[in-house]
Subunit: 355 residues, 3 copies
């Protein structure tokens, strides 16, 4: 399944520093065999320190060397060697790719795979046990399809994709190049649409498609509906975490990142580079502008302009939300102040006739 | 998998109008080959316009004809032919059924399907590759079972159902006629119940069943627990979107519609025709009356009477919710007003001894 | 799949009372064949009554005998025999285990199961149709693996586990003894982590593991991510309901119970015996102390001390939450009181120059 390998290399801090464009403080010749969080690293491993919250674990760490964000360098005591970097996550990314190169799954087609009529496979396609490709499916070269994947009739999958076990693509779904779909992702599901005939809900036919553009990643057990009429589109390099739901006819812009349990209702259009925290939700037929940010659990009930940062339920601009929360915090005190005023004014009110 | 076909027919506006009981304004002889959202339709397609929010796309639409809701007719400029209808979604439903008739999956039993002892199948049952029907399972005539579906021991599935790939029915689950279960739906799962023995949680045996009545649809990756003792029941024509959770012993009334990511906790009873927006939640042991509506993300913490419309967290009647939100909006101003009063009264208070 | 059997035994109330350490009021020789909720029980079944909300169903119940919590004994009228117990759920647990003993799945290895190189199986391991165990997988004795389960390379599963159909363990996942994993559970998924290179999100390699300690249960369609570096750990006897999400590097303490649709973001540490209601959420990098309780839909945005009970969005201590809600309830009245004060003081304010 293209899983990460276990690290076998030993690297010196000098080598690591060159790799991640960092700066060594201490012993350049010291070697480590892997990188781990500062509180879990052994003496053979590079401790990773990117967040202020983990500084407290440094003193007890067994790591003899740390990969540390520049703004935390001053908070690490003496006695350890450091590789100091500006962007710790970028550095981690480079380092892990070197220490744990991908072990690509073999490009075998398992004899139990069921291929329908007219299936077209590019070169070097791997298909796992019991996968089912229905009639007319096309798969680009270099793509790996895991065990028990089902690709419905006339669906198209691009090149160099990785479909983990038990992904289901409904018929006519389109997946671009280099997509990663995790186990249990369901793409192209009928949307939730009903016409009421004699008071009972009748299923609206769903004849549109779900289209994932290039470089999309979809988390485990996430669901993307097909369009009712027209298509649902997930833009290039957009990333969905686990258990995310995109309803029919949603359009999600390029490079947007949706954390787990996010739900976006029908026909909503989300711009480019939008970030949504876990459990955020957006109702239907809205427009979320480019670069907007929805905080975790933010419930969006109206359009969000480009670049806005919103939080809360209903979601509102973050400053407004924080001010509202502060006022809420002071509400008991406000009530007391009103009571005090009343007793002052009320006394006077009662006294008034005597004036 | 019973997927929609691609449209092949060409229909005149006169034919469409007769089909959807509409009224043509313009060229009755004009033909279209499909229907699409107004902003996506080509010149060969009928543009669909049911929402005020899409009026802005009309001017740039390539569609030469529109299917339009009567209340929007006045907002469409000259130069296009129209089919005007009272209920646009009902009309769309009729039109799509004609343009895209269902292509039923074949009634074959794939040779790789595993059928246990005593399995009983009605006529014209189709079973996909690698499906597993355990001992004692009964399936009604006309039902289609997708690839990798697992039906547990002694479960019963009615007639003319459609089980998409990778549905799992736990043992003794009961599914009525004409059900549609989407990929990854798990029906009859053990509920979340624990007895504490010596301080540790011990699994409460779950011996009840999950029962889906006729015409139920369950979305992708949704979960319906079996009862602990007694049954979990989903009423006739109830519809669950994707990633919905119904806990043990929930009773969901007929024709209720639950949008994605809704969760209903144990033993709660939901009436008929109840609507819940996405991410709504209901705690356990409540009663939700017939025809109630829970807004998206509404968190219901107490019983809801029949016909009530509730929103917010905790959910309260919608008017109360809106009033509360309006008051919250004005809270900063209220605080200022109290401060102003204090300075007025305080001055006087300070002045009082001098009076 | 190790499903509960149907009850065949008939027990007298005396026998039941001995079993559950209860006290019979009425006919000790009366026999019942099963236990059901008070409103669903037949005359042959013991009605179960543990909650005040169900007292209203007693009069119409067909049950001739009830299993009743001691604090409800006084609310049950004459004419029925009772088994009275202190802890009704504990009693139900004991009774169900006797009436419905587990029927273990057979320890067969289905001929269609695909076992990779170097797979090691303990004694009495059962493997269902079409299950796939990749190279190097180890499974402890007595474990049952359902149909279509996929266990990735080098993963380890302990003894006496039950993996329901269509569970997926990603490579190198570790599962302890006596785990129960429900259908669609995905363990060891890559986490949601990105490094930005030239403005585009690049997948952070995930080289840690997901580790489930002994006696863990994971609900249907729940997802547990592997660590990015370091491991994600679910503590002993922790229980996850359906559709729960644990992000990379979460550490969940022993005996913690998470209800459906809970999401916990990356690197958050949750203590022992923590309870979270349905749809609760916790942002990343937090610490939740031992024994804390998060109410249903509570959205936790900061650390929670041990033993605290929090609710709301953002979650705050329960008392504070209730006080805040009460103040919100009175906010319209508060606004009126301020208005009244203003008119009083304002009049005086207007009068002031005349003084």
């Amino acid at each position: 399944m293209g899983a990460p390998t276990e690290s076998k290399k030993a690297l010196t801090l000098a080598e690591i520093s060159a790799l991640v464009r960092g700066r060594v403080v201490g012993d350049e010749a010291l070697t480590v065999v892997d990188v781990r969080p500062v509180d879990e690293a052994s003496s053979e491993e590079l401790g990773f320190l990117a967040s202020r919250r983990y500084v407290r674990y440094v003193d007890d760490s067994r790591a003899r060397a740390l990969l540390v964000a520049a703004d935390l360098e001053g908070q690490v005591g003496e006695g350890r060697s450091l590789v100091v970097v500006e962007d710790a996550h970028r550095a981690l990314y480079e380092l892990l790719r070197t220490l744990h190169p991908d072990a690509p799954a073999p490009a075998d087609i398992h004899p139990t795979a069921v291929l329908g009529r007219g299936v077209e496979l590019g070169e070097d396609v791997g298909i796992g046990p019991y996968a089912v490709l229905e009639d007319g499916v096309r798969v680009g070269s270099g793509t790996r399809i895991g065990a028990h994947v089902v690709i419905g009739r006339d669906a198209v999958v691009g090149q160099d994709c990785l479909l983990h076990p038990q992904v289901v693509l409904y018929p006519r779904t389109v997946v671009g190049h280099r997509a990663i779909l995790h186990s249990g992702a369901r793409i192209g599901v009928d949307g939730f649409g009903w016409a009421f005939v004699d008071g009972a809900p009748r299923k609206m036919p769903h004849v549109g498609r779900a289209i994932l553009e290039d470089d999309v990643e979809v988390g485990a057990n996430s669901t993307v509906d097909r369009g009712s009429i027209g298509d649902t589109v997930v833009g290039r390099s957009a990333k969905l975490d686990n258990l995310v739901h995109l309803a029919h006819n949603v359009r999600l812009g390029a490079m947007s990142l949706l954390a787990a349990l996010v739900g976006i209702a029908g026909s909503t259009r989300v711009g480019r580079g939008v970030l949504m925290g876990g459990q955020a939700g957006v109702i239907n037929h809205l427009e979320i502008g480019d670069g907007a940010q929805i905080a975790a659990a933010g419930k969006v009930m109206r359009d969000v302009p480009a670049g806005a940062v919103v939080s809360g339920y209903p979601a509102r601009p973050n400053r407004e939300y924080l001010r509202k929360e502060a006022h809420l915090e002071r509400l008991p005190k406000l009530a007391e102040r009103v009571k005090a005023l009343e007793s002052l004014v009320g006394n006077r009110g009662a006294a008034a006739p005597e004036e």
